[in-house]
């Protein structure tokens, strides 16, 4: 990742977002969103965790390092 240009200043830029979701609630909610055919950008990827308690700072930082533009924790 190069950080020289702030990408979010460009109108066509789509941020890559990883959403860490609790298996029991947020992940199920994301399933329901599908059932209801709600639409959201395909650059959002859902990552199932057994509980948001499992969400480790390390994993969040690692995601940023690997290329995430945003991390969403839901649970």
């Amino acid at each position: 990742m190069t950080e020289t240009n702030m990408p979010f200043t460009q109108p066509t830029w789509t941020p890559r977002i990883i959403a860490f979701c609790c298996h029991h609630c947020a992940y199920a909610a994301a399933d329901l969103a599908g059932g209801l055919r709600m639409q959201y950008p395909s650059s959002v990827k859902i990552f199932e965790l057994p509980c948001t308690g499992k969400l480790d700072v390390l994993h969040v930082m690692h995601a940023f390092e690997a290329g995430a533009d945003g991390v969403f924790a839901a649970g």
Binding site: D31, L32, Q39, A63, A66
Partner: protein
């Protein structure tokens, strides 16, 4: 308990039937299945879940209802020993407790649950729209539907009400409703396909059918029938306007050739059907054109010949040989030629000449010949004729003799050929004419004159051999005799001549049967038609069949089609050597909508008066110009408007769209209802409730005013998955309501419901809060009688609603509402100000002395609201009452189930238990408690057969893959078109093949179908794969299925990973195929990366100590102990005091002692007569209970004992008990697998209102003891009532005041005080009817049937005065006596009472030592010190720590029956653990690497389940002593410890850092800059 203990009865059946799949039914099923019983869960609907699944949130925690119920749904659905029978009812029951045979009737759902994958494609193509019942009519759904998105079973169902009357009326059973629905949807090609299912001649029938369907149409009862034939014609016009695509020929399957004589509608229909079955078919036609009468009998202006030609050609295309211009000379010739069967369908082409003089004169024509000549004139090269009909007619006066439809065809044709004048004459009167009225009208419009009532004497000769007219007589009467011989009476002297140049006979037609000589072996009838068996159409000669006009005489084309189908069936049977008569099949009823049903639909706004869209026609002037079609046909717009008028009577129309679409062959429209007998040992009834039907309270306008909704509808409006996606909108205009009113007690606490529905106050409060949470500026106003927030946490919730959300509560029962027609708002009139009580709430007590009706001094206010919510109460549905009757159990007047006193779940029939609102209105946690309680009762009854009928999964040994490189197999699912329709599945599969470690990738149509599951197992074995990825739907529902398929291949189930490319990809990116495909690839890449790093995980088995420790020897503790002992589990029962019995020793009357029969009211109580009544029942019960506990061989009672210490984990606890021996303490150890806390509670005694300083101020418990003393003269142990010596049984007090909500009850509602106070008030009234009894209260919270106590108290003359905490009563005591000053809010004045005795209702508080015990057991307590359950709704008797349960007052104040049930429930929950020989632990749990542990205790503090602890036997980082260890049996696998551990010493198995990070890296396509761990 009525159940038999273990061993008393060994021939019991180890299975239980649970009736009702709501939350209670599911809980009972799970508890039983987990304790070793086979469960049959019978559900009336197509899915389980009940009302709870419809709710948005639950009070008082505001948890999402679906989030909490969904895991239970899945667990129930996948449990190996729960068999769910949906669409089913209990039809009959025989046998006795322990061994019942239950007949269960299952209605067809038309979709095979075992095959259905839940993909939903059937619903997408289903054209039939019905109101969604799950969404309470606020949304529409399809006839093929899933009850709700998360439904279990995850399968669709088709709703059919029966056969639509249009279909029933049609001889060919044309499924008109189906193609009408498709037209409405704009799917015209599909509509034509549906028509052609039953009828190969839609273009023809759309024009000339007599459409009996329309006569039967239910819509005709509302306004006009649907214009079905016009719609049919529209479809053909539209589709036929496109170029015809020739149909593919059908391959021949059979050798037997079939000959069909006649190419009319009957012959061609049969030809089509036989050809489609695979027979070689030849059609013989004497004329140069095919189509029979359709082609040569019906005039062009009604039926253009190109339509006939086209529809015939569609049949010929299939491979039918058509021989035109071919006359069959003799029937035998056909058999000689090799035909095996012959269908005679020659029609009736021979016209009839009346046998009157002159009938052969020149100028006398015959109808059939005339019409045929007209149609064939255009083909005159092939069909030469001397005089064209036009030449014969032009400019002439034409007289048509006859009045049928054919006569009108002849007359109107004559008009078009340019006749100078056209007249008709017939025998019948105008009303008696056999032609259709609309035909007669059309004829007259075209200038045709009709002479009725004429008998024809002779054709008049003009002298040159030409006809000049007909001599007639006037008919006065005519009739046909049995032999169809005509007799006519005419008026004498009425002879006259109708002059004409050309006369055309049109008085009948018949078949030409010259090719059937007498020796052909085919019998004829006296009417010269072929004799046949009417059921099979078989003629007297084997192999010969006959149908159509040649058999029936002239009929309509649709009848010819119908008989053609039947002939084809018979011929097929004949040729296959089967019996000709088919077996009758059960048929669905015909749906005849009644006026009431139609009125209901109108009221619900589902139906509005809409006149029929007329068929556009040419004017009479235009049409007589030529043979152009008169009816010009609908436009698409008109057709869709007309189609929308269809009422969809049958619901499913059997259009078969679903059948064609379903990729797994799950649709079966031929399913029929079936019954089965099931052997079970016990039955648990959990049928639930229905909400009060608000339409019955017309004063509130539900149904009439769109913005009046029921509470259940409002739940759906609040729900994110509801009809408005969670945006609260009012139904009339979709606007956000700014002001909402809730009207309480609709269908509760009224003249016809003398009970409180117990949940409405709280759900209304919840809904009000949620409405404000949705839109902050919403104003909410609740109109109620009393606020009944009587359970744990409810009072605090209510106060939060007022204080935090500003919800306004007014005590006022609204009598009616009106709509403001200008804006759809609703006008509510009420008396403003607090404490207002209207007539409605007190009206029932008017006759009683002392029950003052306070007039309302406050001003009446009219206020407009945008939306009104009716808080509808609970009722028992008629079908549930019917069930009760069938089972022979006692129900009360309202249909609620009667149960046995002190055995509250036992119905009047042993072995049948009732739970949930079926017993009494109640909320979710109480229903769940009862469900568990019933499971315990059934478990005790059937203990002898535990484990005899259950099934365990069987798998091959596991293959060790640890040394192998990852070999990943990937399966990518199309899910029909759910995934495949929105992204490129083959491309994703192709991409998966390129990923590292992948050895195989393939697309599947449905990966979860039965054959695919078996295929995965086989493929894994074949490939030697050691990791599997399925890219399909969601792991929430499907992971266990796929895991079992790889386990069957010998792989550890944890070597599996799913990529959710449906719910989280194809469905949410359905607008962008490329992006969805790209994301699916990424999700698969992530899954493969993680899969490659997955490790097998194993479970360990730990033996269970099958013994229980119960702490507390009151009613709850004893009941729990007995329930467990009866199931065969030894129990240690520990009691602090020296005797068993607890608080029950202080209760002397039950409500039933007072004559209160739940649900019936006071049947025997008679206040005026001062009769003695028993206080014995409760004492007898207590003594019996103690006796049973003390004498049970499996129960060890430890009196004067306490728990000193406890250690260990679920299944393996060790506790130290300390017993007070008087002079010393005895300490000893007990081992147990579970612990039940039933430590009870005690009455609060403080110094409020002079208690303790004035002996005339007593508590409720003290007062109850006084009552016993007054009543029996006996003193009750332990009570200091001797301090009131002046009140002896002979000298009772005159004035008694009860004051409710004293002390801590100002903070929480102690639930039972109102009921207890009213009970004691009534006991007192019985002893001394003249006593002035006043109850000073805040709200009377007599929930459920306790309401009847309130009713009775008012009837008995008890006075009620309301107060608020901000103006509490003042009590002063002096030598003159007590003085109570209370502000009366209605009078707006202070009242002064001078009671002899003041009874303070102080609440139950937790027992002494409960807090101490909670610390010792590490279990939580709430603010008040009551034990805190794991989940207030769904785990109401469990602690979050495994293996520890609670019951009785230690949980919260409750009535005796509630304590008993809760104790049974705790026993059931405990039994799910004790019944297992081992407890399985491990798998996805956290594991400590002690070499990295610094024993910092972070994990110990983080874990919500107390799983980690630091043990000194382990060595930590750097060799320090002590490291953390996580008890696998307690670990829930949440991973919080792993995330919190600062030393990264903890890994959560299956979610290790390596696995998580590999997946993250795979997403972004690159490893992170730093490598951690």
């Amino acid at each position: 308990m009525s159940g038999n203990g273990r061993g008393e009865k060994d021939n019991v059946v180890g299975a239980v039937m649970v009736v009702g799949g709501g939350i209670a039914g599911m809980q009972a099923s799970l508890d039983l299945a987990e304790s070793g019983y086979k469960v049959y869960l019978v559900e009336q609907k197509s899915a389980i879940g009940g009302h709870m699944a419809q709710l948005d949130k639950t009070f008082p925690t505001n948890d999402c209802a679906m989030c909490t119920i969904s895991p239970k749904l899945v667990e129930t659905g996948r449990h190996l020993n729960i068999e769910i029978l949906t669409d089913s009812d209990v039809a009959a029951l025989k046998g006795a407790a322990g061994d019942f045979t239950v007949t269960v009737r299952t209605r067809p759902r038309y979709i095979d649950v075992k095959k259905c994958t839940g993909c939903g494609e059937c619903a997408q193509v289903c054209p039939v729209v019905i109101p969604s019942r799950f969404d309470e009519g606020l949304k529409q759904q399809r006839a093929a539907h899933k009850l709700y998105p998360q439904a279990i079973p995850n399968a669709y169902a088709i709703e059919k009400a029966g056969i639509a009357p249009c279909r029933d009326a049609c001889p060919a059973h044309q499924r008109a409703q189906g193609y009408i629905a498709l037209i409405r949807e704009g799917r015209f090609d599909d509509a034509l396909r549906v028509i052609k299912e039953d009828n190969p001649f839609p273009g023809i029938c759309g024009r000339i059918c007599n459409h009996r369907c329309e006569d039967a149409c239910n819509r005709g009862k509302v306004d006009d029938p649907v214009n079905i034939h016009a719609l049919k014609r529209f479809v053909t016009d539209t589709v036929y306007a496109q170029p015809r695509i020739p149909r593919e020929p059908i391959p021949k399957q059979y050798d037997e050739r079939v000959a069909i004589i006649g190419s009319g509608p009957c012959g061609m229909t049969a030809a089509q059907d036989l050809c489609q079955q695979g027979y070689p078919v030849t059609v013989f036609e004497a004329l140069p054109v095919a189509g029979g009468m359709l082609r040569v009998g019906v005039p062009e202006y009604r039926l253009p010949s190109w339509i006939v030609d086209r529809e015939v050609q569609d049949i010929v295309d299939l491979g039918v040989e058509l021989r035109l211009n071919t006359t069959v000379a003799h029937l035998d010739d056909l058999f000689t030629e090799g035909f095996k069967s012959v269908l005679i369908a020659v029609g009736a082409h021979e016209g009839v000449r009346l046998p009157i003089p002159g009938n052969n004169l020149e100028g006398v024509l015959i109808n059939t010949q005339f019409l045929r000549d007209v149609r064939l004139a255009e083909l005159n090269t092939q069909y030469p004729m001397p005089n064209t009909p036009q030449a014969q007619i032009q400019g002439k006066r034409v007289l048509v003799l006859g009045g049928g439809n054919a006569a009108i065809d002849v007359a109107r044709t004559a008009v078009r050929l340019g006749a100078g004048q056209v007249q008709m004459a017939c025998l019948e009167s105008r009303q008696g004419m056999t032609s259709h009225p609309w035909e007669i009208q059309a004829a007259e419009d075209e200038g045709i004159v009709i002479h009725n009532d004429r008998s024809f004497l002779r054709v008049v000769d003009d002298g040159t051999g030409w006809a000049a007219g007909v001599e007639c007589r006037r008919v006065t009467h005519f009739e046909f005799d049995d032999q169809r011989r005509l007799s006519v009476e005419t008026a004498p002297g009425s002879e006259h001549v109708l002059s004409a140049d050309v006369m055309i006979f049109s008085v009948g037609q018949r078949a030409g049967l010259a090719f059937i000589p007498p020796d052909a072996g085919v019998g004829l009838t006296p009417q010269r038609t072929i004799a046949i068996n009417p059921n099979t159409y078989a003629a007297t000669r084997p192999g010969v069949f006959a149908a159509g006009d040649s058999v029936s005489g002239t009929a309509f084309v649709i009848e010819a089609v119908a008989s053609g189908h039947k002939c084809a069936e018979s011929i097929h049977r004949y040729l296959r050597g089967e019996a000709l008569e088919p077996k009758p099949r059960p048929e669905l009823p015909v749906v005849k909508l009644t006026q009431t049903e139609l009125a209901d639909r109108m009221r619900r706004g589902e139906l509005k008066i809409t006149p029929r869209v007329p068929m556009p026609e040419l004017s009479a002037a235009q049409r007589v110009q030529g043979f152009a079609e008169v009816a010009t046909g609908y436009t698409a717009e008109l057709a869709q408007a007309e189609a929308a008028r269809c009422l969809a009577c049958g619901i499913c129309s059997e259009c078969l769209s679903c059948w064609y679409k379903c990729g797994v062959g799950a649709i079966d429209h031929d399913m029929v209802e079936h019954a089965q007998e099931i052997n079970v040992g016990a039955v648990i009834l959990a049928p639930g409730y229905q909400v009060y039907r608000a339409e019955l309270s017309e004063e509130f306008g539900w149904g009439r005013y769109p913005n009046v909704v029921t509470a259940l509808q409002f739940e759906r409006l609040l729900s994110a998955s509801g009809p408005t996606m969670g945006h609260v909108q009012r139904p009339s205009d979709g606007h956000k309501p700014k002001k909402i009113a809730f009207l309480q007690c609709i269908g509760s606490r009224d003249q016809s419901h003398d009970y409180c529905s117990a949940v409405c106050c709280m759900y209304a409060t919840k809904q009000a809060i949620m409405a404000i949470e949705h839109e902050r500026d919403t104003e909410v106003h609740v109109f109620m009688m009393d606020m009944r927030a009587f359970s744990k946490g409810y009072e605090a919730y209510y106060r939060r609603a007022i204080e935090k959300y500003g919800i306004e509560y007014t005590r006022c029962r609204i009598s009616a509402i009106k709509e403001n027609p200008a804006n759809g708002n609703l006008i509510v009139r009420y008396a403003a100000g607090d404490g207002v009580r209207s007539q409605g709430s007190e009206g029932r007590g008017q006759e009683a002395e002392g029950n003052t009706q306070y007039l309302v001094p406050n001003t009446l206010v009219s206020e407009e609201f945008d939306l009104v919510v009716l808080s509808v109460g609970m009722e028992i549905a008629p079908e549930v009452r019917e069930l009760g009757r069938r089972l022979g159990i006692e129900l009360d007047d309202y249909g609620f189930c009667h149960t046995v006193q002190f055995d509250p779940l036992q119905t009047s029939k042993p072995g049948i238990y009732a739970v949930g609102p079926f017993r009494e209105p109640k909320d979710i946690p109480e229903s769940v408690v009862e469900a568990s309680g019933a499971a315990a009762a059934a478990g005790a009854l059937l203990a002898g057969a535990r484990g005899t009928l259950i099934r365990l999964p069987e798998y091959p040994p596991e293959r060790d893959v640890t040394a192998e490189e990852p070999r990943v197999a990937v399966f990518v699912c199309h899910c029909g078109s759910n995934i495949g329709g929105f992204l490129d599945v083959p491309v994703v599969a192709e991409y998966a093949r390129t990923l590292p470690g992948v050895v195989h990738a393939e697309p599947n149509l449905y990966t979860c179908s039965q054959d695919s599951i078996a295929h995965i197992t086989e493929k894994v074995k074949e490939l030697g794969a050691n990791r599997v990825v399925v890219a399909s739907c969601t792991p929430l529902t499907h992971e266990p299925l796929f895991q079992s398929s790889i386990r069957a291949a010998g792989l550890n189930p944890y070597l599996f990973e799913m990529a959710n490319i449906r719910n989280q990809c194809s469905w949410v990116h359905s607008q962008d195929r490329a992006a969805a495909t790209e994301k699916a690839k990424e999700l698969v890449r992530m899954a493969v990366a993680r899969a490659a790093r997955l490790q097998p995980l194993h479970m360990t088995e730990m033996p269970t100590c099958k013994m229980a420790l119960v702490i507390g020897g009151g009613a709850a503790g004893m009941t729990a102990a007995l329930t467990l002992a009866e199931q065969g589990f030894p129990v240690h029962l520990v009691e602090r005091s020296g005797e068993l019995g607890g608080n029950l020793r202080r209760v002397h009357h039950t409500l039933r002692d007072l004559g209160l029969e739940p649900g019936i009211g006071y049947s025997v109580l008679d206040i005026g007569k001062n009769t003695q009544y028993p206080i014995s029942s409760i004492h007898t019960y207590l003594n019996n209970l103690i006796h049973r506990v003390e004498s049970h061989p499996l129960i060890t009672v430890h009196l004067k004992a306490e728990l000193a210490a406890t250690s260990g984990i679920v299944g393996d606890f060790k506790s130290v008990l300390q017993q007070d021996l008087g002079t010393s303490f005895h300490r000893f150890e007990v081992y147990h697998g579970v612990t039940i806390l039933a430590t009870g509670g005690q009455e609060y005694r403080g110094s409020e209102y002079g208690y303790g300083s004035d002996p005339r101020v007593v508590t409720g418990q003290e007062f109850e003891a006084l009552l016993v003393h007054w009543e029996t003269g006996k003193l009750v142990d332990g009570e200091s009532h001797d301090q009131l010596p002046i009140y002896q049984p002979t000298n009772l007090p005159n004035a008694i005041t009860f004051l409710l909500c004293v002390g801590p009850a100002e903070q929480y509602c102690a639930r039972i005080c109102c009921t207890t106070a009213l009970k004691n008030a009534l006991v007192l009234k019985r002893l001394t009817p003249a006593a002035q009894v006043t109850v000073i209260y805040r709200d009377i919270r007599t929930y459920g049937f306790k309401e009847q106590l309130y009713t009775e108290a008012r009837r008995a003359g008890v006075r009620f005065v309301r107060y608020d905490f901000d103006r509490k009563p003042q009590v002063t005591s002096g030598s003159n006596g007590l003085e109570v000053r209370v502000w009366e809010p209605i009078l707006g004045n202070e009242m002064i009472l001078r009671p002899d005795l003041l009874v303070l209702s102080t609440p139950v508080v937790p027992a002494e030592g409960a807090r101490e015990l909670s610390k010792r057991l590490k279990v939580p307590v709430d603010m008040e010190g009551f034990f805190l359950e794991a989940h207030v709704k769904l785990r109401p008797v469990d602690f979050s720590s495994e293996g520890i349960f609670m019951a009785g007052l230690a949980h919260y104040p409750k009535l005796l029956e509630e304590s008993i049930v809760q104790a049974q429930a705790a026993a059931a929950r405990a039994a799910t653990l004790l019944s297992k020989d081992t407890l399985t632990t491990g798998g996805r749990v956290a594991v400590v690497d002690n070499t990295r542990c610094v024993a910092c205790l972070t994990c110990v503090r983080t874990c919500p389940y107390d799983a980690p602890r630091v043990v000194s036997s382990l060595t930590g980082v750097g060799g320090i002593v002590g490291a953390a260890q996580i008890e696998a049996a307690l670990c829930h696998g949440c991973g919080s410890c792993a995330a919190a551990c600062p030393a990264r010493a903890i890994q959560l198995m299956h979610y290790t850092d390596a696995q998580v990070l590999a997946k993250v890296d795979a997403l972004f396509g690159q490893p992170a800059l730093t490598v951690s761990c």
